[in-house]
């Protein structure tokens, strides 16, 4: 049997990234710069939260975890394992789009790799999720390329957004000190280092078409800590808002 604690740790990281990024996406509802974009971020929010739910359900059904809703809305901040990238406030549209681009490609290579996982629930869930993600990366690529080729100002803003976001995005691939070797050995997934390489291979061609310059990777310091429960000051208010209705009456039936 595959190491249960190692699996649980990996699923929580993935699910929390989905949930928190999903919540950030939902913050564009009603505020998007044009109607189609408002709809796009709202739809991606719904997808992501659905993906979080599917992952939490694996915890619940296969690994003795809590009910997915309670797990999502009633945990303390330090028990969350999302990356700092997903916690950051939306800021302006350039940052939101760049994060969306970097994050969705990171998720894509992860779910693609899980097609080969030794853990059956991963093989099942990743098939569906990677298909849905196609539309997220399609959307992200289109905007990165268009805005980078549109005007001097939009190009400069996309380049700045990339420079500001790359270290946060690299932090998505923070390995677990305790479980990484086990997960790789048991062939649950290929490991963070390999996923990082695959991610770079995926984003490079889009950056080239956008004429954006990738910051020198050996000079960036990936932003770590999220996977260990250390978070930015932005997460606590997000969790409070996200769980506000649920926590009014945790026994209510929906």
């Amino acid at each position: 049997m595959i190491h249960q604690a190692a699996l649980t740790d990996l699923i929580i990281k993935m699910g929390d990234d989905e949930l928190v990024q999903g919540h950030r996406n939902s913050e564009w509802t009603g505020l998007g710069p044009v109607m189609e974009e408002d709809i796009a971020f709202s739809s991606m929010a719904q997808d992501k939260i659905g993906h979080a739910w599917a992952l939490y359900r694996i915890l619940h059904e296969e690994l003795g975890g809590k009910d997915p809703d309670r797990f999502a809305f009633m945990r303390a901040e330090k028990e969350f394992k999302c990356s700092h990238l997903t916690e950051m406030p939306n800021g302006e549209y350039d940052f939101s789009l760049m994060r969306h681009f970097l994050f969705d490609h990171a998720e894509t290579v992860r779910y693609e790799s899980l097609q080969e996982s030794s853990y059956e629930p991963f093989r099942q869930v990743s098939k569906k999720l990677k298909g849905e993600l196609k539309y997220h990366t399609l959307h992200a690529n289109a905007w990165i390329i268009q805005l980078s080729n549109a005007s001097e100002e939009s190009y400069a803003r996309m380049q700045t957004a990339l420079n500001d976001t790359i270290a946060l995005a690299a932090g998505v691939f923070e390995p677990s000190q305790e479980y990484e070797a086990i997960l790789m050995e048991e062939k649950v997934y290929p490991g963070e280092k390999e996923l990082y390489q695959r991610w770079l291979d995926r984003i490079y061609p889009v950056l080239v078409r956008s004429a954006l310059n990738m910051p020198a990777l050996d000079t960036i310091q990936p932003v770590l800590g999220g996977r260990q429960g250390f978070h930015t000051p932005h997460l606590a208010p997000l969790l409070k808002e996200m769980g506000e209705v649920f926590n009014l009456d945790t026994e209510a039936s929906w």
Binding site: I39, M44, H51, W53, Q124, G131, Y135, H139
Partner: protein, 164 residues
């Protein structure tokens, strides 16, 4: 009512369970049913799958299946979400594609392998049939739809997205 309900009768009844977001399509048209099994003379177990993982209508559809089949056939119905099969747009029947088009929504392209960005180009307009169209957004009013624009008839139209 016959003593034993036939599988055929159950499938027939399922044709009356409509999708809440696209009311011209039944759960059969959409290919959402993955298994029907008579567990006794008056009990049936039905397995279904949602189109998208976050489909908000899943429990509504499950309830619709139960209520409709129980009412029409007078048998007891249990409905389960099937985790071993995942929905692909190729599961949609030809009749469903035709009904969608007549409803004003472009049907998904038949997929050979994976979804690629190019497949979303030149989607035929459900109103005038022109392929002089472009993708405006891969997201629409529900998770399963994309928005296109037809340059021939000047109308915005929705498409049921291909899903691999």
């Amino acid at each position: 009512m016959p003593a034993t309900t036939s599988l055929e009768a159950v499938y027939k009844s399922l044709e009356h369970v409509m999708d809440p977001e696209i009311p011209v399509l039944s759960v059969m048209d959409l290919g959402m049913i993955t298994g029907v099994e008579m567990t006794s003379d008056d009990e049936v177990h039905i397995k279904m799958i949602p189109t998208f993982a976050a489909c908000p209508a899943v429990s509504f559809i499950q309830q619709g299946i139960k209520t409709t089949v129980e009412k029409e056939l007078g048998i007891s119905v249990t409905v389960e979400v099937d985790k071993n099969t995942h929905w692909q747009s190729n599961r949609m029947t030809d009749t469903a594609r035709e009904k969608l088009k007549n409803f004003g929504i472009a049907p998904p392209q038949l997929l050979q392998g994976e979804v690629r960005a190019e497949i979303m180009l030149n989607t035929p307009c459900p109103h005038c049939g022109s392929e002089h169209t472009y993708l405006r957004s891969p997201f629409g009013s529900t998770l399963c739809r994309a928005i296109h624009y037809c340059k021939s008839c000047g109308q915005v139209f929705e498409q049921f997205k291909p899903l691999e």
